[in-house]
């Protein structure tokens, strides 16, 4: 049984007709880290606020450990939900010290015990010695860890993170992400986070839910969603892709790049295929002699990305993105041969 579930939840902001969250259903398993991923305005933060109790759903139900938080007349206010939240701007209380911030939610405990517990939480996040500092005297990374310690101190059943790493610089982001994940996993915390950063979602979450226009488009492990995107939107948003129209015949499809093997739903009739940039390979066309049946491409642009390079090419009248080794001697204007080394995924979208 899932720890937290949202069933057919809809939330409409007053007069404006569009729903911020539109018939959304989602389940979070105990001890799992679930990322809500999507572009800005897709309703992911609203979903988080619905779980926290800062918004009231118009219809649908929110259930935590079998207890109805919202829906069918019931509404549990935020303070009675045992749901912790870390805000994007951290929302540390500016008039309280670091220790007082972390001990804030520990009202049920005797004072001494609360302070001890708060100190212990700070230690967990490597913040010993900062107890008496005021929030404005901390760096962004330290503020974030104080906010995490504060939210976790009362032992919430679910922890919600709103764009938790977006305020950190990129050098700090990867290491902080790994460290925070380690601490959360060691505590066995159940976490729901919101992000628009696909790398962050794939690295941090056990499962991710890609959202679009108030709905969940696809849920699964990062590996599964990446390998088998259901729609063009998901394929684009998670890693980028090439979209190819084709005519399917079961486990293969005819396209401008020739006959390609496909995975996913059996391909029948006109289909839309997703072909990841790393499923294509460029070979420099040094001899200028055409190999029988080989695809010929022209390099339009090259973008160096460190461990790899991304090439934009034109082939048989289509513009495609190819990921390749950065040391390939290919520059804009060069000719090359194109090979398909990976498999195409059949999408649910129809080719237009």
């Amino acid at each position: 049984m899932p720890l937290l579930s949202l069933d057919d939840v809809t939330l409409r902001y007053a007069s404006s007709g569009t729903a911020a969250v539109d018939g959304l259903s989602l389940a979070v398993e105990p001890g799992e880290v679930l990322a809500l991923l999507g572009p800005s305005g897709c309703g992911k933060t609203t979903t988080l606020r619905l779980v926290a109790g800062f918004e009231r759903p118009g219809s649908g139900a929110v259930t935590l450990e079998g207890r109805a938080l919202a829906g069918s007349g019931a509404f549990v206010p935020p303070e009675q939900r045992s749901v912790g939240m870390v805000f994007q701007d951290y929302a540390l209380f500016p008039h309280l010290s670091v220790l007082e911030n972390v001990a804030f939610g520990l009202t049920a405990m005797p004072r001494q015990e609360a302070r001890a517990r708060a100190s212990q939480m700070l230690k967990l996040f490597g913040l010993e010695g900062f107890e008496s500092r005021m929030p404005h005297a901390l760096s962004g990374g330290q503020q974030q860890r104080v906010a995490l310690a504060r939210a976790l101190a009362p032992g919430p059943r679910v922890l919600l993170l709103d764009e938790p790493f977006s305020s950190l610089d990129s050098a700090l982001r990867a290491s902080t992400r790994m460290e925070v994940r380690r601490v959360l996993k060691s505590l066995g915390a159940t976490v729901m986070l919101v992000t628009h950063d696909q790398q962050e979602a794939m690295a941090f979450a056990d499962r991710l839910a890609v959202m679009r226009a108030g709905k969940v488009e696809q849920v699964g492990t990062p590996e599964a969603v990446y390998a088998m995107p259901r729609t063009a939107f998901v394929a684009y948003f998670l890693g980028g892709t090439n979209l190819l129209p084709g005519v399917g015949f079961g486990n293969g499809a005819r396209t401008v790049l020739g006959i390609l093997p496909v995975v996913g739903a059996p391909a029948r009739g006109n289909v839309l295929l997703s072909l990841r940039p790393e499923a294509l390979k460029l070979v420099p066309d040094t001899d200028g002699v055409a190999v029988g049946g080989a695809l010929r491409a022209e390099v339009l642009a090259r973008e160096f990305q460190g461990p790899s390079a991304e090439y934009t090419i034109a082939c048989n009248g289509m513009e495609l993105t190819v990921r390749g080794a950065p040391e390939l001697p290919l520059r804009a204007g060069d000719r090359a041969r194109l090979e398909v080394v990976g498999r195409a995924v059949v999408l649910e979208d129809r080719p237009d």
Partner: protein
């Protein structure tokens, strides 16, 4: 579905707004009792003349106060002006000078028989004409510019330096960045300053009466005092209320719908002060000139008359001083408490209805205080005789009259409060009462104290309502000054006026020190 405000908050907000409406409702009742003859009187040319003179004065004072305050606020908030803190205090001191004292000072200095009239004439210098429009403009500008000054200073201090830095990096010179970034971002401060000053002038009685400028409030007072039938005065009062409603609508339109709390990521930074360099001397001269007119002149004139008045027996001052302080203090606390639900509703649960409620609270401020006072007298006699003639009635008048000031300050500090903070407290298990006690209240405290101090100050120098509603034998500093001035005993008015200025100056000091403590960084 938007979050709904708790029922208790609605009840409190509606109750306060209803209280604020009571005098206006009475005004309408009186106007409805007026016969056709009175309505005919209202549409005469004289009324249009009154309207033109009143609006002209309000516009001129607001413009002068804005133009004067912007450089002063910038110099004290953003530059390395020597003695910034002292200048800030001195520039706020005119808040402590009631407009009737300002008018009195002008007359006692430059008027017929004034202290400076004879020396100026002897030296062959022109004597400033202080009767009518010039006198009213000068007296009211000096009395009201500190409202603008404080609003602009607070606005300047809350601006994120990154905005200005961004403009500079986009190639704007410091001067152009000032006019394209700093000034436009001060729009809410300009709007609230203009609202305060404009409404202040519309309802001022003391200065216009003394310099004999025939504006609405003076005409209404004369009508009330002189005529047996007060319906025409009620109609004039209603006309003035319509003007005020127009001003309020204008302010609402100007303010726009933006939220102004800074999204704090990482530590907030204070901007480095601008170096004045060779502009230091002119800057000091400007501040000095304003302080000379706003503080030096009143003190000089009052000391001059005070010394001359030593020969006159003028009675002990301790009693009136205590009456002023206690009544004003009660009024300040009650006004801030009443402002809380209205500001909360308007900021946290914005809707057309909560905006209307907040606007309604401005009604008492817009009524000429003399009309407000008389309508409460009527109410006291007719509806609540057990309250009539008690201190409670006077405190009620102060609350109705000064609610907008309190709401303005409380709303401003609520807008600065990051809405995530109360949410964070709730998600950490605090019930609404705990959120209020442990997070919202401590963070609002500087703003609430500032609001209370502002109301206290203004109530200290309130005159018409105090004259009409104070219990028998309850003499305040303001009524003492008025009584002496009205009888032409300028020397006797000097001592209580000086005490009034000193007490109020302490309040200004409190206000400024609060402002310093609550600013971030």
């Amino acid at each position: 579905m938007r979050r709904r405000a708790p029922v208790g908050l609605w009840v409190a907000g509606v109750a306060v707004a209803a209280l604020a409406l009571v005098p206006a409702v009475y005004l309408c009742v009186r106007a409805a009792e007026a016969d056709a003859g009175a309505w005919g009187l209202l549409l005469r040319d004289r009324t249009w003349g009154l309207l033109g003179r009143t609006l002209g004065l309000a516009a001129a004072v607001t413009a002068c106060a804005a133009v004067l305050s912007l450089p002063l606020a910038w110099l004290t908030a953003r530059t390395d002006l020597p003695g910034r803190h002292l200048w800030t205090v001195l520039l706020c001191v005119p808040l402590a000078v009631p407009t009737f004292v300002s008018g009195y000072v002008l007359l006692a200095a430059f008027g017929v028989g004034g202290a400076l009239e004879e020396p100026l004439t002897r030296w062959g210098l022109p004597v400033p004409h202080v009767y009518g429009f010039p006198g009213a403009l000068l007296a009211l500008t000096v009395s009201t510019y500190p409202y603008f000054f404080l609003a602009l200073r607070a606005g300047l201090q809350s601006q994120d330096p990154a905005w200005l830095e961004g403009a500079r990096s986009l190639g704007l010179t410091p001067v152009r960045a000032f006019f394209r970034i700093t000034v436009p971002l001060l729009r809410p401060a300009f709007a609230s300053g203009a609202l305060l000053v404009g409404l202040y002038v519309l309802s001022d009685f003391g200065a216009v009466a003394l310099v004999q400028y025939d504006a609405f409030s003076r005409a209404i007072y004369v009508q009330y005092e002189g005529a047996y039938d007060r319906s025409y005065a009620a109609l004039l009062g209603l006309a003035l209320v319509s003007v005020t409603v127009g001003v309020l609508a204008l302010e609402l339109w100007l303010r726009g719908r933006a939220g102004y709390h800074r999204s704090a990521k990482g530590a907030a930074r204070a901007s480095a002060p601008v170096r004045l360099g060779r502009w230091r001397v002119p800057a000091l001269l400007l501040c000095g000139a304003v302080v000379a007119v706003g503080v030096g002149l009143p003190v000089g004139v009052l000391v001059y008359w005070g010394v001359r008045g030593l020969e006159v027996e003028s009675g002990p001052l301790l009693g009136p001083a205590w009456s002023s302080v206690s009544a004003s203090m009660l009024g300040a606390v009650a006004a801030v408490v009443g402002a809380l639900p209205l500001a909360f509703l308007a900021v946290r649960y914005p809707s057309r209805l909560t905006v209307v409620l907040e606007r309604v609270s401005y009604a008492g401020y817009a009524l000429p205080p003399i009309v407000l006072a008389l309508s409460l007298v009527f109410l006291g006699v007719q509806a609540v005789p057990f309250l009539y003639g008690t201190l409670a009635m006077l405190v009620l008048a102060y609350v109705v009259r000064f609610l907008p000031q309190a709401v303005g300050v409380v709303r401003a500090s609520l807008l600065q409060l990051n809405p995530h903070l109360p949410e964070a407290a709730a998600s950490l298990g605090q019930p609404p009462s705990g959120v209020l006690r442990r997070v919202t209240a401590p963070l609002l405290r500087p703003g609430l104290l500032a609001g209370a101090a502002l109301v206290f100050l203004t109530a200290m120098k309130e005159l018409p309502a105090t004259l009409l509603l104070a219990p028998i034998g309850f003499e305040t500093l303001a009524t003492r000054v008025w009584a002496a001035t009205a009888e032409g005993r300028f020397a006797e008015a000097a001592a209580p006026a000086l005490v009034l200025m000193a007490v109020s100056t302490l309040g200004v000091g409190l206000l400024v020190s609060q402002e310093g403590r609550s600013s971030p960084g």
